[in-house]
Subunit: 207 residues, 2 copies
């Protein structure tokens, strides 16, 4: 049989550890997560865990980095640069709101904010593999649309940031601060349509 792809990981349980840590850290944050809990969740002995990661902080850093990479990979959507810009924006808005509404999106944001002071490196990585990356994608699409003459924009990155921001209207704050059932699909749709309408009103070229 063909040799299985031998990864650089030293032992069998490496991935289990990372997976378990991911769950617990995302659930409880860095401080409240206990190493014993992580070991239990990972189905691994504490000794094994410490064989791989001699320090809780290192384990957290590794997890957070992995999550950021995963997040960036998930954002790898193919944007059709030839579609009408309003459609492209609507699609982007749908992805942004969906991410915010997802369990994963909320948890990672919370953890990133909470630990941004103790782990500034992680905060930066999150920023670049999340908001900044999205902004860049939108900017690319806008650049195409400007060339096609659909929109007139002087500061493209800024306009992209404005649009991304408009997608969060009322959703982000309520998700974080208000109790659970706070964003109906209708709300989301209104935010998305509102964002597109506002953006086109500002930058759209009258036909």
């Amino acid at each position: 049989m063909g040799a299985k792809p031998q990864l650089i990981v030293k032992g069998r349980k490496f991935d289990q550890v990372l997976e378990g840590a991911r769950n617990v850290f995302m659930r409880d944050g860095f401080e409240r997560a206990s190493v014993d809990d992580i070991a239990r969740e990972a189905g691994v002995s504490k000794a094994t865990l410490y064989a791989y990661f001699p320090d809780k902080r290192l384990l957290f850093l590794e997890c957070a980095s992995a999550e950021c990479r995963r997040q960036a990979a998930d954002a790898e959507s193919h944007i059709d640069p030839n579609a009408p810009i309003a459609d492209v924006l609507r699609l982007a808005a749908e992805r942004i709101t969906a991410f915010m509404l997802s369990e994963f999106g909320q948890r990672i944001y919370r953890v990133a904010v909470s630990e941004s002071e103790n782990f500034p490196a992680i905060a930066q990585e999150f920023y670049h593999s999340g908001p900044k990356l999205v902004q860049g994608r939108i900017a690319e699409a806008l650049r195409c649309a400007v060339e096609r003459g659909e929109v007139a924009i002087d500061d493209i990155p800024f306009a992209a940031a404005q649009f991304a921001q408009l997608c969060k209207v009322d959703i982000q704050d309520r998700l974080i601060f208000a109790p659970a059932p706070c964003c109906t699909p209708q709300d989301t749709t209104r935010v998305i349509e509102g964002a597109v309408a506002m953006f086109m009103a500002r930058y759209g070229v009258k036909v």
Copy 2:
């Protein structure tokens, strides 16, 4: 001499305790703040502290509530409902960005997010005495402007939320996630002017 205003507080050191707790909680968050630290910061013995607040959580709740009230009081600015709406919005935007950029604004947001899961009541109070309140103020101003025929808006609260959101473009994320020197006054001005321009393009009535 006239009797000093006797507050309902039982002892002399009550305010000291609250003040010290405020500082430490805002610096370290709930979990990382130690009661011994708070007592030291307040210049008060641990026994005294526990005489007033028999529980760390109660102390935190009291502090957070007080901060929310303070925050709401600070927002008590007089909006001239007869001024042109663009000017009103510009002023509101300046206040919003100034708050975000302030040390206080950043700390309270961070703490609110961090503790929103363990203290949902606090999170809600923060939301209502902060973002929600601001949104309400803007909505009022918009209502006047609609009556004057300066703008045409169907969903006023939503439009207010949109504007408030536009004031945070790129600032909020960078303040939280990126290292310190990240927002020049020029950046801020661009965000404010960009928000007003966009809002007026969408809702302004052509003269």
